[in-house]
């Protein structure tokens, strides 16, 4: 079957799911608790997919993703709450500013490798958090009041756009270049791929979508505080990608959905939740370091989606 046809089937399935949930919410079958769960899942899926592009596809180990989430959250909140701009515009502005932040952070740090890159991204995320902590205009440590604007529709279409853009990017020429960088940076360089350009590009796209998720995140609460965007938030996002499988888009989506639901049930026992998370992380790394899905996709299981990632076109 042709690739484009498969693509439209997935979009149609996604729209049907959206329609059902939207119908149930507007009909009152799903109360605040569940609609909130769906929105949280959507936000976490966007975060997981955006980090998947950076870690899973391009192989750049960033553990500061919460910093870009914070940028998107604060910038979009300033535009809606303080300046009264419409929500979708504010979301886009937040995402663009996060992408610019990604460029600023990425250009110097992506020259580093492995452990050093991880620590540098962690450091940058902390600097971003400390900057927000020290700006009185956004409330400092006490936090900032934000209007409640996120709805299931916004969240859903943001997820859809994120997944479409990132999966198409992965299967494009640029995506293949990113995979080459992941597999062997020196070899990719020798083959004429501009490795710095692709690393920064993937990082900026990842930051863009993290910023988009940030906008949805801040407008889903009534208040945002710098402490919400610390180390632990970055690790939360990291766990989705690692558990799902480094390099598997569907794996990170599934992990994000499952872990969001699990953490909702463990909401009253935050320590237990973190103990379980950390044990899962250690056990997965010791016994299955490629994550649950490896680099496979769910679509590989179906006959009609015989394409494998990385552009081996068999159909």
């Amino acid at each position: 079957m042709k690739k484009s046809k498969v693509f439209w089937i997935y979009v149609a399935v996604a729209l049907v799911v959206y329609g059902i949930v939207e119908f149930l919410i507007s009909n009152g079958n799903l109360d605040m608790y569940y609609s909130n769960l769906f929105i949280t899942i959507a936000i976490n899926v966007i975060l997981a997919v955006s980090l998947h592009l950076v870690i899973g596809i391009t192989g750049q180990f960033s553990i500061g993703h919460a910093g870009f989430l914070a940028v998107g959250a604060y910038i979009s909140a300033i535009f809606t709450t303080n300046l009264g701009w419409p929500f979708p515009v504010a979301l886009l502005i937040g995402a663009f500013v996060a992408a610019i932040a990604g460029l600023i952070v990425g250009i110097p740090t992506l020259r580093l490798k492995g452990d050093y890159l991880a620590i540098a991204t962690l450091g940058f995320a902390e600097i971003i958090r400390i900057v927000f902590l020290n700006i009185d205009y956004v409330g400092g440590a006490a936090g900032m009041q934000v209007d409640y604007l996120t709805t299931w529709s916004y969240a859903f279409f943001a997820v859809l756009i994120t997944i479409i853009v990132i999966s198409n990017f992965t299967n494009s020429r640029h995506g293949r270049a990113c995979i080459a960088v992941r597999e062997d940076e020196i070899a990719a360089d020798a083959m004429g791929i501009n490795t710095t350009f692709y690393k920064v590009l993937a990082f900026a796209i990842g930051s863009f979508f993290a910023g988009l998720a940030g906008g949805l995140f801040s407008h889903n609460f009534f208040i945002i505080q710098p402490s919400q965007f610390g180390f632990l938030k970055s690790f939360d996002i990291l766990i989705y990608v690692v558990l799902g499988g480094l390099g598997s888009l569907s794996g990170s989506i599934i992990a994000a959905i499952l872990l969001t639901i699990i953490s909702l049930y463990l909401q009253d026992f935050p320590e237990t939740r973190m103990i379980i998370y950390s044990l899962v992380l250690i056990i997965v790394m010791l016994y299955r370091p490629s994550g649950l899905m490896g680099t496979k996709e769910v679509t590989d299981l179906f006959k009609f989606g015989k394409k494998s990632r990385g552009g081996n076109v068999n159909e």
Partner: protein, 291 residues
């Protein structure tokens, strides 16, 4: 003499960073792993010291020794259980495991005793001396002398003993060391034990100096000590000490200039600058990358 005062405060803080950084740098030098759990070993050391002093009425030195012994055992356990299997795994897998171990220690501690902070009892008198117009507390002198003694002992172990020679050999070339009959696994365990014992000592000293400890206290000093290790050149023992001191003084100066809220950012700015302009650190030599 305001500046002398700040310099002394900075060196006191810096010696704590230096003690933690030594563990990072030794472990990184030998197995190329950022032991994220190191900051949490430091936290455990602070709590053992607290229990020893407040509950079991031990003095400062017995508490310090007890914390060092417990942390050494903890460090070896972490290495044996989690890291040993990962010797041949990818760097990312090892790093994620280290993050997992760190979270596990933090939240297991919270699970058993709650997240509330604990106030360290006074074990060293608060007497201050006047030195060239600067007020030096007994605590600062104590911290500094304990740190210096521990560093001298470390220097002795690494350069004058057989196990120290083995450690240097393993960090130079694991395969060659194994061929020369060195027990690599034991040497790595000893490295973890020594590094963790130093972190435990740093924990007790931190508790005495700052009087407040809590289960998540290890995260920030842990990351900053890593910054100190990178600053001095990771894998180089005198570098960790120098890096810790520089970082401590810089942080104190930033606070003294009235930017105390930006203090934590200063460490990360230093890290990023050093990574960009001199990734091998102050004492490191640049090495060419090979295919």
């Amino acid at each position: 003499m305001e500046w002398l005062q700040q310099l002394i405060n900075g060196i006191s803080l810096g010696s704590i960073y230096a003690l933690i950084a030594l563990g990072y740098t030794m472990v990184y030098g030998i197995i190329k792993l950022i032991n994220f759990a190191h900051g949490d070993v430091f936290m455990i050391g602070a709590f053992i010291g607290f229990l020893a002093i407040a509950r079991w009425d031990l003095g400062f030195f017995p508490a310090l020794l007890l914390a060092m012994v417990v942390c050494a055992i903890l460090g070896v356990l972490i290495e044996r259980i989690a890291y040993k299997r990962l010797r041949n795994a990818t760097r990312i897998a090892a790093l994620i495991t280290a993050i997992g171990v760190s979270l596990l220690i933090e939240y297991t501690t919270i699970f058993f005793r709650g997240a509330q902070p604990e106030a360290y009892p006074d074990v060293i008198s608060n007497k201050t001396f006047n030195f060239l117009g600067a007020q030096i507390s007994m605590q600062s002198i104590m911290i500094l002398s304990v740190s210096i003694v521990l560093m001298l002992i470390l220097q002795f172990i690494v350069h004058k003993t057989k196990i120290g020679k083995a450690m240097r050999a393993v960090s130079y070339d694991v395969e060659a060391a194994r061929l020369m009959g060195i027990n690599v696994d034991n040497t790595i365990s000893v490295t973890f034990a020594i590094g963790s014992a130093l972190a435990g000592a740093a924990g007790v000293i931190f508790g005495v100096y700052y009087t407040k400890i809590d289960p998540l206290m290890g995260i920030i000093p842990g990351v900053k000590a890593f910054v100190a290790a990178v600053l001095g050149g990771i894998g180089i023992i005198p570098g960790a000490v120098a890096g810790g001191m520089v970082l401590g003084v810089v942080e104190t100066v930033v606070s003294a200039l009235g930017f105390s809220l930006w203090r934590d950012a200063a460490a990360f700015v230093i890290l990023i600058l050093i990574l960009i302009f001199r990734p091998a650190g102050i004492f490191g030599k640049n090495t060419r990358e090979k295919v």
